[in-house]
């Protein structure tokens, strides 16, 4: 995160709507993606993004200069998403959003859509912090140090969350995993499509400037 962003937060504290809009434009897309993956729905994600920035608008005067604005935003959004996820538990499979209808190009696409739906359902059953850790590290490309800052915990705790998350998913998706390995692919997006292509969380890949 840059000095520029800290200056923007200082201006937000003075009530500058232009600075506020700049921060929203920079971060809202990534925050919405993160929140959707943790909370499980687009509508919830948009509410989370709005609440996150409302807290920034109201709390900018109390900003601690040592805190990175991006890290703070990610932490607030993640916590809000985890809280919403907890209120929703236990998750009914019917609540898991249906994957989009397969495009008319054959069985492979239909199969991949089915797999994606099964994975979404399995992730929805994970405890929220496990789901958040997996989202941050696997989908958003964060290092353990970065995820630890967002989750306000230690790197060791993040690694433990990841191990439990993946073990839980393996158990729920055992049949599918064997099927996937037979075909060699799950058919749909790749890790690169899910992370690198859109940039990693925050700003860059090094630990310091990242939420």
């Amino acid at each position: 995160m840059t000095e520029d962003e800290r200056d923007l937060v200082r201006r937000v504290a003075e009530g500058d709507p232009v600075a506020f809009r700049t921060l929203v434009e920079r971060h809202s897309g990534r925050l919405a993606r993160l929140a959707e993956r943790i909370a499980g729905s687009r509508a919830e994600a948009e509410e989370i993004v709005q609440d996150t920035f409302l807290r920034l608008w109201r709390g900018a005067a109390d900003w601690q200069p040592r805190a990175q604005p991006g890290t703070w935003l990610w932490r607030v959004a993640t916590n809000l998403a985890i809280d919403r996820r907890r209120r929703l538990r236990p998750v009914a499979l019917d609540d898991v959003p249906e994957p989009p209808d397969p495009a008319p190009d054959g069985e492979a696409v239909a199969a991949s859509v089915e797999i994606a739906g099964a994975v979404r359902a399995a992730m929805a059953e994970l405890p929220p912090r496990q789901r958040a850790a997996l989202t941050l590290c696997h989908y958003e490309g964060q290092t353990m140090a970065e995820a630890a800052r967002v989750l306000d915990t230690s790197e060791g705790a993040v690694e433990s969350l990841l191990i439990r998350a993946r073990a839980g998913l393996r158990a729920r998706l055992a049949g599918l995993a064997a099927e996937v390995m037979q075909t060699g692919t799950a058919g749909k997006g790749t890790a690169e499509e899910g992370t690198a292509g859109e940039g990693t969380a925050g700003e860059g890949t090094a630990g310091e400037g990242r939420p």
Binding site: V24, R37, L54, R166, A167, A177, K188
Partner: protein
């Protein structure tokens, strides 16, 4: 790196070396290259990676999300003004300085002399009964 270490690594971070912690990556790749048991653990992790990567990236945020966020914040009111003396010690020092300055000014200011001229003017203007000098008519 032992085989158990490697298993723990892929159990947490999956099969893609780019997701492995940098301080363990080289040793893990070396073990993976030579140890069939490590390769089996890696394959197991890769299965799950493939499944996770089957979930499409969420669609981009709605085009008007920024406008809605800004509108809602502005409707909620401006942030409160910045109070520059955030530190309690600084606030206490400022208060003490004000007190000391006030006392010093009070001590340095001489007692007002009897305002005889003022009294005479008051008698002339208001009359002896209203001038406040205590003499009733």
């Amino acid at each position: 790196m032992t085989l158990d270490d490697f298993r723990a690594l892929v159990a947490a971070h999956g099969a893609a070396p780019r997701r492995w912690p940098a301080d363990r990556r080289a040793a893990a790749e070396a073990l993976l290259a030579r140890d069939p048991a490590a390769q089996a653990a890696w394959q197991e992790a890769r299965r799950l990676d493939l499944l996770l990567d089957a979930v499409p990236v969420p669609a981009p945020a709605a085009a008007d999300l920024t406008d809605r966020v800004v509108r809602r914040a502005l409707a909620a009111g401006r942030p409160r003004l910045v109070w520059p003396f955030r530190n309690v010690a600084i606030q206490a020092a400022a208060l003490a300085a004000c007190l000391v300055l006030g006392i010093a000014l009070g001590l340095a200011t001489p007692e007002p002399a009897t305002d005889e001229v003022g009294d005479e003017v008051a008698v002339l203007v208001l009359g002896p009964g209203l001038s406040g000098n205590g003499d009733l008519p």
